[in-house]
Assembly symmetry: D2
Homo-oligomer: 320 residues x 4
């Protein structure tokens, strides 16, 4: 029987809400709905357990993780009528204002094997400071944001030297716009059609989405990294500005259009509307990254574990 994976989470937003609740539902009901890999490297979803959590907002610090996930601006829905307390008290994260903070956080990691960095994108210094804390504590680190951490050679080299795994950057959603758009463009190519033009529009209502809208540079580069896999077709694909529409709450809506030419130059058009809960798409990938990170740590593999590749948009080697 496998030992449970102890995880520390940084940031207690919607994605962590989805992660915590989804694992609880799976434990309570045994349901495998939406779980991509019930067992990964010998570890089940129920083998993930939370050991520590960090946030900066004063109304979050000091309360139980399972209360904090429901505080606004979080708006991911309650998945079940009851969720027992976790026993994990949310601690004060890095503020950048005090000396010795990184060491303090490292000390608070409470023996976690894996640090899941799930704070908002757009603060690369903070992300790298948490990576430093994890390194001090001897933990694996997962950067789910679009900030450059794993694809920053300096950080990666330090992890390699320390013999610890480092996973990132920017997780590919389990089933989001990129996944569907990419699959349709690939299908078009496989079937011999010629792409004329294509666009995608993304609309969302979470605080994370709002941050992306206001801070779209690293995210935009990360999206281009994801589309580069489509080769020359990428030039013909346009990404409209993100739209923050609060009433969507934790849902994300995407409109995808593809115009192409088939045999004889005749026209083909494909229009897609996709509606997902963004935090669920993230959590479904978190559970895989956590298990990959834990196994790599236990096997003393250092640096970037290549098997995480399909789950990330900007792995080491892509543009910063």
């Amino acid at each position: 029987m496998s030992e449970r994976v102890k995880v520390a989470v940084v940031g207690v937003g919607n994605n962590v809400s989805a992660l915590v609740q989804g694992i609880a539902v799976h434990r309570a009901t045994g349901s495998l709905v939406g779980i991509s890999r019930p067992v990964l490297d010998g570890l089940g979803v129920a083998d993930i357990e939370f050991a520590a959590a960090f946030a900066t907002s004063p109304d979050k610090v000091g309360r139980d993780l399972c209360e904090v996930i429901f505080l606004p601006p979080n708006n991911f829905p309650r998945l079940a009528s009851e969720l027992p307390l976790s026993g994990v008290t949310v601690r004060r994260g890095l503020t950048g204002a005090e000396p010795g903070e990184v060491e303090r956080v490292a000390g608070d990691l409470a023996g976690a094997e894996v640090v899941l960095y799930a704070a908002p994108s757009g603060r690369p210094e903070t992300a790298r400071a948490y990576a430093e804390a994890a390194l001090l504590a001897g933990a694996a680190f997962i950067n789910t944001t679009s900030d450059a951490v794993a694809r920053d050679p300096q950080v990666l080299n330090r992890y390699v030297a320390a013999g610890l795994p480092l996973l990132g950057d920017d997780l590919a959603s389990q089933f989001g716009t990129s996944v569907v758009h990419h699959a349709l463009l690939r299908l078009l190519e496989e079937r011999g059609l010629t792409l004329t033009s294509s666009y995608q529009v993304n609309l969302g209502g979470t605080e994370d989405f709002k941050n992306l809208v206001e801070n779209s540079n690293t995210k935009h580069q990360s999206k281009l990294n994801a589309l580069a896999a489509n080769g020359s077709a990428a030039e013909r694909v346009q990404v409209a500005p993100l739209g923050y529409l609060p009433h969507l709450e934790s849902q994300k809506v995407a409109h995808i259009n593809i115009e192409a030419q088939a045999w004889g130059g005749t026209s083909v058009s494909v229009d897609v509307k996709l509606k997902v809960h963004d935090p669920a798409g993230a959590a479904g990938v978190h559970v895989d990254l956590i298990r990959i990170a834990a196994r790599a740590l236990r096997q003393r593999r250092s640096g970037y574990p290549a098997e995480a590749g399909p789950l990330l948009k900007s792995p080491p080697g892509t543009s910063v």
Copy 2:
């Protein structure tokens, strides 16, 4: 340099119009738009040449193939302002009323290496009679309709015995509803989502489509054969009745909906509208089947060539 493939076509409907015109456009302009495989088994698209054509309607018989493809009820558009005559005169096909007809048609095949059966679905006896004529003439036979020919063991055995290739049944469009629906359902499964329900609605305006509406049994079985590859998911997929809407002309419109559950049981929905020219989707596959058939014949391979599989909905071994 390869010898040109001589093809006889049975039925001069929209699909043959798209095939004849598309090859002419490719020859005139060199355009590779919409051509899946520019070279297949050493043969280019321009290596296909028409040697004979058969129809039953009195106003078609006796005229040049390149005139007949524009006669109503054909409604596939003109792809270029000019199309030279082919030099192939459309001959009277099998009527079932005269003795010795099969032999007559076999004699009229004019040295064709490949017989492309592209008449309307729904007349299995006629389809098999043409297969018999091709066999007498020593030609390969391609059944593009949903009628059982290649998946009829008796017919297949005769072809094997004669050392001739037999391809069929029911071609999968180059890029049609089945292809897109199947790809999305597979993607869903790959990403670990759980299908709740799905539907497709198909609307079209060609004479072929009208025939399908009126004669939907073999077609329906063939669609089920195509979906069976999705395994248990197939039970949750519903196909609405076909709708014949004349004003769509040679376009086909499909509405596809997929409802699924992701991580934590959260809902995911995908809605697709697909718009294609049905005959172009057929012609794009015809050019591959013709070249596979020609190569198999020239290599003296008998029976069903397995490489045709991805291009067919109901290959040998599927339900009749």
Copy 3:
């Protein structure tokens, strides 16, 4: 203060389930959501009360109306966690097999002022027999099906002679495909655009919908009556076959497409997906028809009350 309207319902399907539950929700919460006219002719929604109910299925007869609305094949959802019993026991309706049935039912109407005929479409004789029973009992009659009752001059004349109101036929949903399609076509015309072509596809999952699919003649005529208001445009509008997709349950999905030409002959296209709960769209109109019928009865107005016109697809004077 107004006296409550006593209503007898014939048929205890999804539409009656939506009606009964919606009134209960309104009574319990005061909510006016989805209620078109809170007060109509001095009567509120809460002024409607059920006095009798009729069904033919043996497992429905003898049980309370509020239990029967949840029996399969009904699949309209529960709107609230609790629904008290109604005190109305469902009685055996007309079977056509016994003498004196019409008189028996008339006697069982229990002093109802309004008879709401909400059985499945497709049994015009039965519909007219209930109209006869209502007439005997001195009640107003509402035919919500597409069968010809109010537009049958013989029946209408009998109601006029008896001094009783008769409303029908075929109710226009509060917000369904016809309403939206009609509004968009009218908008197009108002703005000076020229319609090229248009289609609608309707998909549903209720037992009523299944009956329509199997018995589409009177329904089809009724749809044409509804579209005739669009004048010449109606010729360019095509209605695809109805699709019965059980997994939709009580939802109806419609796909509407409009292709048009604007200034200079440039193309305009509008694509709509509409998703509604069909029984709710019916119930929202039932509450208006019931109140119109009651008021007409109390004011001793006989025959067809013109103010019901906008709520009906085939009023008196349209084709049978």
Copy 4:
């Protein structure tokens, strides 16, 4: 027989291209396709004639109007294979750099009765300077941009004092996102449904659209003015950021979503994709505004002619 209306156009962008070409098609073919009002105040579409045109780009000045409309970045398509020269040479417009420019332009108006201001939005000073030139020349003025001209009380008062008509601001497209969205929201309300939330996304590929994206403030206020007619519902409607997608060329694509509640609180959703040629939607309204302006001038009516109201988004009295 009516005297032709002489029009001067300011700005020779896509909208003027659509206007000039559409009138030419109507003259050549008599086609009334897409023409909202064939005769308005006694004037036909063919009664509009161009007398002068102004642009600032050096490659436009000095060439015939019918050549200039096809110069990039204009990308509205050619409507007919041939378009004769107009005989109107494009003159240099206001640059703001020289003294006496307004007087020069007034002199160049060449007896025009109506000045149609169709330059890009976002330069209110320039718009008002042209209004001054028109006033000097005794012409009616139409401001089709979202800049405040007619709704600027100072400008309006000067027109009233001079006895000249002034029309504006910001024309409502003949059939655009606002028109369709507004109609559906109104329909929802008429039928008694309760709006939950709604959004619209607008994507376009013209230079005008690009300007709007970069300069969205006056446009945004103008859109709010247009939606204010929906009353409280406006609060629940969100407008996503405009997306400039060059490959759309002169097409505009809008995605509209409406979520509502019907009877019993059941959910209703409407999704619309709208595809139009934006310049055609503008030109179809230009021909009406020009004729209203000409008639008002000829009847010596001064100030804002109220009958222009339905064609404008921000008439006098709305917020600046």
